[in-house]
């Protein structure tokens, strides 16, 4: 670690390439905090949106027309309006209206970022799951019905496990988009990667260097996600189903 720091200090002194995040403990700490905040934000939104998305897709197949319409309206609303305006709406408009607990707002900027991005991703996940559900052969469902499974059981034990496998590539895409969308949280001062990097570059005046680091970080995160999802896809593969 010291060697790395020494090398980057040497790099700065000889070439002027100023990467303070590698040798200045304060800047390094800020950058690490930003990195993990981005990961945490992505993870929360991913888990919540997959669960809610599966639920919404289930509701979209409901027998009650009103339920289908509500789900449809929700999906269309969040897909066809700018994510940044949604975030502002929740943080600046809905946030102040909510009652306070012990004088403090219920949710901080991180909390609102989770809410806003989760709803956005739920809308996308619901569509993806629905496409996956539609790809499950009718005969499979009829077989489950013949065996006396209830609607909820069929969904949980037959349809969903198969649908998840079909939707893997689309979900991968969605997850990549989610990580990219977390950068919007910068706008409401969530201390994520872009925000922390902006703090560093406005103090150290090393915009080009930080910009390159930032881009490398995101491209690396996306690359790792792609690899993990490919591995998962291979692990979950069911012979004779999908491609």
């Amino acid at each position: 670690m010291d060697d790395v720091a020494a090398w980057f200090l040497w790099l700065y002194k000889t070439t002027g390439i100023k990467l303070t995040i590698f040798y200045d403990p304060y800047d390094r700490n800020r950058f690490v905090v930003g990195f993990f905040t981005t990961l945490k934000l992505s993870a929360y939104c991913l888990v919540l949106s997959v669960v809610l998305g599966a639920f919404a897709a289930w509701l979209a197949g409901s027998r009650v027309a009103a339920v289908r319409r509500v789900v449809d309206g929700f999906v269309q609303l969040f897909r066809n309006t700018p994510p940044l305006v949604q975030l502002y709406f929740f943080y600046f408009a809905v946030g102040p209206v909510l009652p306070k607990v012990d004088g403090a707002p219920i949710l901080g900027s991180f909390g609102w970022a989770v809410v806003s991005l989760t709803l956005l991703e739920t809308a996308f996940a619901a569509e993806i799951f629905r496409a996956g559900i539609e790809a499950v052969p009718r005969a499979t469902i009829e077989a489950a019905q013949a065996l006396g499974y209830s609607r909820a059981q069929i969904y949980r034990k037959v349809v969903l496990p198969l649908a998840i496998r079909v939707t893997m590539p689309a979900m991968n895409n969605n997850l990549v988009n989610l990580v990219k969308t977390t950068t919007l949280a910068y706008a409401i001062a969530v201390p994520e990667l872009v925000y922390m990097s902006a703090q560093v570059w406005s103090e150290q005046v090393n915009v080009p260097e930080m910009m390159v680091v930032l881009l490398i970080c995101y491209v690396a995160i996306v690359g790792i996600i792609n690899q993990l999802m490919q591995w998962l896809e291979a692990r979950l593969r069911v012979p004779g189903f999908g491609q």
């Binding site: 197949g61 289908r68 897909r79 309006t81 940044l84 469902i141 919007l184």
Partner: protein
Amino acid sequence: MSHSAASISELLSPRAGIALAALLVASLVVAQIPPAAPKLSVLELLWKWTPLLAEGFVFNLLISFCAMAVGTVAGVLMGFARISLHAPVRGTSWVVVQFFRNAPWLVLLFFVMFLMPFEVRVRGATIPFPDWVKATLGLALPIMANVAEILRGAVQSIPTAQWEAARSLAFSRRQTLWKIILPQCVKRMLPPWMNWYAILTMATTLASIVGVSEVMTITNRITNAEGRTDLLIPIYLYVLLAFFVYCYPIARWTRRLEARYAER
């Protein structure tokens, strides 16, 4: 499932927009309840600021048109590089496309805003780059990468037999591409291209973060100037509704084209 999910036409109903409008009206009604005597009602405030907001929204649309035009031209060129027979060209363009597809839009926007000069001197003439032009170029970069992928995907979706048939009729590669392959690609490229246009239009609000005075910046200025907490929810809903009214028909039209092409 016996009660299958909603069909496409049902799925793409304008109900969401109606719901959004209803929400706006409801928020207005709620905001109206304490009618403070000298102050304007929220409805009057919205009406008062509508011309300014509309101006901002039109600016967003202008940015979206320009970014789409630049991104499409650059993307088509990049798409040709992606299907080039020359391996180094193909490899380089692959790297460029992957990079701009995987980088977050906001980071690309910062990248262009900070690292592009605000003016360029060419033989004594100064060409200025105002903020909005830089933002447009920043937004055009991911569009370029995605259009390149759309073109490549469309070219690959044409059966190999057509290439072979053209070759047996002594068409050159260029002739085959221009006279046989690309005319068929245009139709296949249209739905995803429109989809990216809708995404781009929604992304133009990012320009507010880097200091371009588009609709989001104006909205924030209005809320600061008025200092009315009861205005907050209605005005953000108003902006959301504006985007919805513009983007939703595009999404619907895209779906219809997709469905129509899929049938054939």
